[in-house]
């Protein structure tokens, strides 16, 4: 069993899905001979041909709209948006069509599509290449929003997303594309959607997070262990619909919660998690909830981006504050 990076795991899942289902089509900018600017689709066009691995014109709205039409016709389109900063023109299609085609036709038509996009900062990319606005998408009824944080989950969750009968937005943290490595068995086994993953068990504080920032979150958990604080780390993984049970069970156990996300704080999905706890687990809370997030500003260009991101220090400090609260 070979060690693969997260982007290689994505590639494995795409190849597997295309192999097992002739209706799976990959489309996007530079996904063909170039194999994608991050190499996520490398080799697919050579293997499955240009009809199934399609370089589209430069038009993101088109990519999402094509997916809706293809899906309604029984294909399983997997569209790629080159960077999340360019996904915004797709929102009209996601809100008004992809997420409601099934409902508006009362099941006569459906929209089994996947829209993939790399997300997040930390790779010293140019302007508009470091977006992390999953909260906007997780507010759309009828949609699924998934963010893997390891090669195994990238592989298993992408397979699940492609096999799912409804539209899924699949966000891939660029910072982990090559830095995250793990042994992944290409066995075609999907992981469950709508389920959060407990990456580390603990009893003193629950830390809920998703995406690349889990790296810092896990590092913070190590640091905390040094101080005798046992942190439970949860990878939410699927933001819409999300796994309330796992979060509530953990907070019931620890009585403390820190939410960590890379996106800007205000209106970020961390608010949703905090609300869940404040509504359904308040009695078990021994301390205020803490959010450690990107700041409420435009993500800076590379020279300052690391100052924007939640750091191991900020996460650990918040957890300590929460644990020292009395």
């Amino acid at each position: 069993m070979a060690e693969v990076t997260l982007v290689e795991a994505v590639n494995l899942a795409l190849a597997r899905a295309m192999q097992e289902d002739p209706n799976v089509i990959v489309l996007g900018e530079d996904v063909g001979i170039n194999g994608g600017v991050f190499r996520a689709t490398v080799g697919l066009q050579k293997r499955f041909g240009p009809e199934r691995v399609l370089d589209t014109p430069l038009a993101e709205l088109l990519i999402s709209g094509l997916c809706v039409g293809m899906a309604a016709q029984g294909l399983k389109p997997v569209g790629e948006i080159q960077f999340m900063g360019f996904i915004y023109p797709c929102i009209d299609q996601l809100v008004n069509h992809a997420s409601r085609l099934r409902n508006r036709t009362q099941g006569r038509l459906s929209c089994p599509m996947v829209l993939r996009a790399p997300c997040g900062a930390g790779i010293r990319a140019p302007e508009h290449h470091s977006e992390h606005t999953e909260a906007m998408l997780a507010h759309i009824p009828g949609l699924r929003v998934v963010i893997p944080s390891s090669p195994e989950r990238a592989y298993g969750l992408l397979l699940a997303a492609i096999r799912d009968p409804d539209p899924v937005v699949f966000l891939e943290p660029t910072r982990l594309y090559r830095s995250a490595k793990a042994e992944v068995e290409d066995n075609g086994e999907a992981l469950p959607l709508d389920v959060a993953f407990v990456l580390r068990e603990g009893k003193d504080v629950t830390i809920v997070s998703w995406g690349a920032i889990l790296k810092e979150t896990l590092a913070a958990a190590d640091a905390l262990a040094g101080d005798g604080i046992s942190a439970e780390v949860i990878d939410l993984a699927t933001l819409k619909p999300y796994d309330e049970k796992t979060i509530l069970a953990s907070v019931a156990k620890t009585g403390r919660c820190v939410i960590v996300h890379e996106a800007v704080r205000t209106g970020g999905f961390g608010g949703e998690i905090a609300a869940l706890i404040a509504e359904r687990a308040l009695a078990s809370l021994l301390a205020p909830i803490a959010r450690v997030t990107g700041y409420d500003t435009v993500i800076p260009l590379p020279r300052l981006e690391q100052h924007y991101m939640p750091s191991v220090g900020r996460i650990a400090a918040a957890a300590r504050r929460v644990c020292q609260f009395a």
Binding site: Q73, L75, Q93, S110
Partner: protein
Amino acid sequence: MVETRMSDATLSVIAHFDVRRRRVLAADGTLVGPRPDVAVNALTSLYRAMVLTRTFDLKAVSLQRTGRLGTYAVSLGQEAVSAGVASAMQQEDVLLPSYRDNGMLLWRGVKMEEILLYWGGDERGNRTSGPAHDFPFCVPVGSQAPHAAGVAYALKFRKEPRVAVCLLGDGATSKGDVYEAMNFAGVHKLPLVFVVNNNQWAISVPLKLQTACATLAQKAIAAGFEGEQVDGNDVIAVRAAAEEAIAAARGGKGPRLIEALTYRLGDHTTADDAARYRPPEEVQAHWKEEPIARLRAYLVSQQAWSKAEEEQLAAECQSQVEAAVERYLATPAREPASMFDHLYARLPDVYAAQRDEIGGASHG
């Protein structure tokens, strides 16, 4: 201008485009050119369809006026486009309509009570008796164009001899999604026919504020395929243009755009009052062009239609529409909790509580 530049040796013409207009029947119903070989009884069935559409539209408006229907968009004056294009399609072709193409849906087999149910505020109206693969009415203007391209790609991908037909308004041609879809259709020579129903108005916005183009047919030039203009009040011309374009698309010759010149004789919708922005004289003048009287005049001149048939048709349409209205009005509202039934293929457990809350609420 052209002359001076032509005289400049460093400027040579490298591309050249023509846009043509097709017309068979003059406003008075006389032929202006050879009639394409459409059988007369084909023409009478087109005539019947147009009359039924108008009868239905007018009834829908009166339902809205009396509070028994929501906002409704009549196709008054545009019946020839619906009949001409729909009759040129096969059932297995895929229709992607706008919100004003009632006549097309009727021809495709959608029940009148289903159309009424939709505009009456019930999603079940979109689960139609028409071809299961057809798209429902599209309200966000032009946003169905990329779907049409995706559908056409799927048809071509599976090598099926089927065509997608996408209906758009003049206003829709200003939308970037429509352009992106057309451009993609051009690249892949998709089996896709765009029909632009140019009724001169986008609510209160006249064509000249919509674009500086002399024709909307020329929008296709930017997508690398052919556009043609047709007299949209001339159902024979529309039918011929649609037949030709659909056959070409089916034959692998790629997409085509048909601009049908019509006029919106009614208000934009029942929520609109066109008197605010256009003079009644303008509307009056266009009544002289309207497609139903025009075809009737022609059929009568061919001894293919009689006063008796006209009266019988009117009566038939009335009773058909009335019966459909009865069925519509008799349809009970669905269970409130059913608003979750088709959100996902299988409702995620986290939403069950909300669904049950509604269920409870609605029973109390």
